[in-house]
Subunit: 128 residues, 2 copies
Amino acid sequence: MNRRNTIQRTLVLETVNKLKCHATADEIYDSIVKEHPNISRGTVYRNLNYLSETGEIRRLEIPGGADCFDHLCHKHYHARCIQCGHVFDVDMEYLPNLEKNIKDAHGFEIISHDIIFKGICPECKKSS
Amino acid sequence: MNRRNTIQRTLVLETVNKLKCHATADEIYDSIVKEHPNISRGTVYRNLNYLSETGEIRRLEIPGGADCFDHLCHKHYHARCIQCGHVFDVDMEYLPNLEKNIKDAHGFEIISHDIIFKGICPECKKSS
DNA sequence: ATTTATGCAAACTATTTGCATTGCC
DNA sequence: GGCAATGCAAATAGTTTGCATAAAT
């Protein structure tokens, strides 16, 4: 299980860092293919999984949508438009103590938490 | 667009109420098929969508998993085991004021929010 | 030389949709 | 009778996987 730094791996990591936030696997793939037409979707997915596991990038699981990948930045929350599906960052303090509010976790060991706000984005509000 | 109360619709609603919480479309379908072998998966999905829209049941979008459907109960938060994928209720007060903590929503109109804790459930902790 | 990683295609999971038919109101 | 809803199957979206080949160490 020795890591091997392939061009493809490097490309995926660089592209996630370049796109900064909320890029889906497909967007990352699209961005890479432009320059490297031979890379395969499977490889992009495999590397996104690998890099999330090593902690080099962060995976954001979107309810009702495709997973997104972020470069490492401060933890923050998200809002998703229920109409267009777009994900936005929310300007709100991260609540590291939130997990202490749990009265009884029934033996569940908590590792992290996400807050996802749902609503209508400005764009969609305009066109409705 | 006049609602028509079919046997299938009634069955889906009753089954969601019976299973109480966190039943996936598939679990709901399985439960109904036992008694009514002719019902189709498509119909179950269509009715789950319909009943969520009318507000008769609640849809819970699970990041990285299948959507769940709840009968109407008090709002609460969830924890999902990153190993087995099971969803649990969390015994923690609902925070109706959470949305007020947002400093700048950039014109985003917030309708609701979810908090999802991630971690390892007691079962999976045992077997690792 | 070894063995991890790739490319490709096929498989898979969750869900939606087109269409002819059924059956509620 | 009219139109909403069904059953079925095919389509879709997102992602994973098996396998032979390529390439990093």
